[in-house]
Amino acid sequence: MVEYEPVIGMEVHVELQTQSKMFCGCKVEFGGEPNTRCCPVCLGLPGSLPVVNKRAIELMTKTALALNCSIASQSIFHRKNYYYPDLPKNYQISQYDNPLGSNGYVEISAGGRHKKIAIRRVHMEEDAGKLLHQEGNKSHVDYNRSGVPLMEIVTMNPPPPGLDQIESAEEAREYLQRLRQILLYLGVSDVKMEEGSMRCEPNISIKPKGQVEFGTKTEIKNLNSFRAVYMGVEYELKRQEKVLRAGGRVVQETRRWDDSRSVTASMRSKEVEQEYRYFPEPDLVPMIFNDEWIDELHSTIPELPLEKINRFIESYSLPQADAEVLADTPELADFYDNCAKCSKDPKAVANWVTGEFLRLINATGTPVDATKLTPEHICSLLDLIDKGTINRNIAKTVFEEMFNSGKLPADIVKEKSLEQVTDTGAIEAAVDKVIAAHSAEVDRFRAGEEKLIGFFVGQVMRESKGKANPGVVNKLLKSKLAG
């Protein structure tokens, strides 16, 4: 039986986080009343002239550099002509054969295999408006999004020597996650898939293994989460294989992912091949980039996720998995980094941050950069445990309390008198009380039911309101029960 192999291309659009639109001064924002952020330029009114937003070009160049791209020394805008109601000018200002960035890569490691996914180009364009479909035969058009700076990032298939291509749904998802993480670190976009500030349209084909020529590809739209990207690509690969195995042929078309039914369905096929009639945008002059400017932008690129992960592993001796969790967002990475720097035990810090801290962050929906906790909180809590002032269980209570109130751990311990009881006399009294109150369990324990030790420890801890030193409790219980 023929074996097939997939070829997956990713086209990703990202809205840049600027104050104003790409070619006019209208504000960039999500939501709001329709058509409240529009002007003659982004409405395409006659006589209006676009002017390039410098910040957008800087953010894009920074991104292209972080994606290991070469920056064109000279770049121009083109008009991409087509008719659609979300496009008021009947053309989109975009880039064609002269993109700002080209020939880069993104590193992934899905399934333990390290790969450098080749990027063909990174270019600048403007977003279109939004169509709000109504009952019946009408649509409403909102041009608030029209003209928002949009960056397009496209992978390269086949890749050039030394680089790789995406070959599975898992790799497609990781590519996108890594890309999103880099963009977050760069601070160029808020990259919210559910709000559409990051949109992904994979194109997919399969071919008999080893064959050089690509199969017919389909494009998937409406993928609004990483999960949808994974499932959509997976579904489409299986669907195409089924078509080919049944002796059919794959039709070149755009297919829409239906999240509720978990299938892709054909959108109406293009009756006429799109013909965009690209030509240089006469209203905008060429951009020339000198090395000095590029170097300056290069110097503003922060430590990127992979570098961060590797540094955490090397400097703090963290396992890969913990380092990955901590480097997930720049805010979390910075928080951990600052805590780790003030502590003698960065590994213990990592356990508390990936454990209790993230649990509380998620449970309360608090953004990491809005937490009341400081490195001082974390480090002095660890000190209290180290010195034996509190035990680990009480430490969890203290952690939650300081997370909620922002009080320092030592104050919480004092206020609630949570100091660990290590005084053998006091613990012995509690142990005696528990043994006396549970004679039946004592008999069962002595008859060989050793797992009951957990029950006794629990009772003694309860008796001491959780403050007893667990080591001392265990030791005393064992000697008295052996009695």
Binding site: P34, N53, N81, K138, S139, P282, I288
Partner: protein, 96 residues
């Protein structure tokens, strides 16, 4: 290069123009005569001329990223042939 009636039909479609049969015939002639005129440009020797997309020697015209007031929403939609709830109303189009 001569344009055929089919070329004219395709260009008309791209421009969303509906042409009657006799208009197509007429415009095919017109456009071809226009193209003949442009043919004269081919006779110019451009051997030593750099290809260019812009004729004026101006580069890097940028604006600072500062938000400015937009048009009032009433004014935005004031030219719309059909409007509703501050939106332009258009026939539903299936995305291609």
């Amino acid at each position: 290069m001569r344009l055929s009636k089919e070329d004219i039909e395709s260009v008309a479609y791209l421009s969303r123009l509906e042409l009657a049969e006799e208009e197509k015939e007429k415009l095919t002639g017109h456009i071809n005569r226009l193209l003949d005129n442009f043919q004269m440009l081919q006779e110019i020797d451009t051997q030593d001329v750099e290809p260019t997309s812009h004729v004026i020697p101006v580069f890097n015209v940028f604006r600072e990223d500062v938000a400015r007031p937009s048009l009032p929403a009433d004014e935005v939609i004031s030219n719309g042939p059909q409007v509703d709830e501050h939106c332009f109303v258009v026939p539903k189009v299936v995305e291609t």
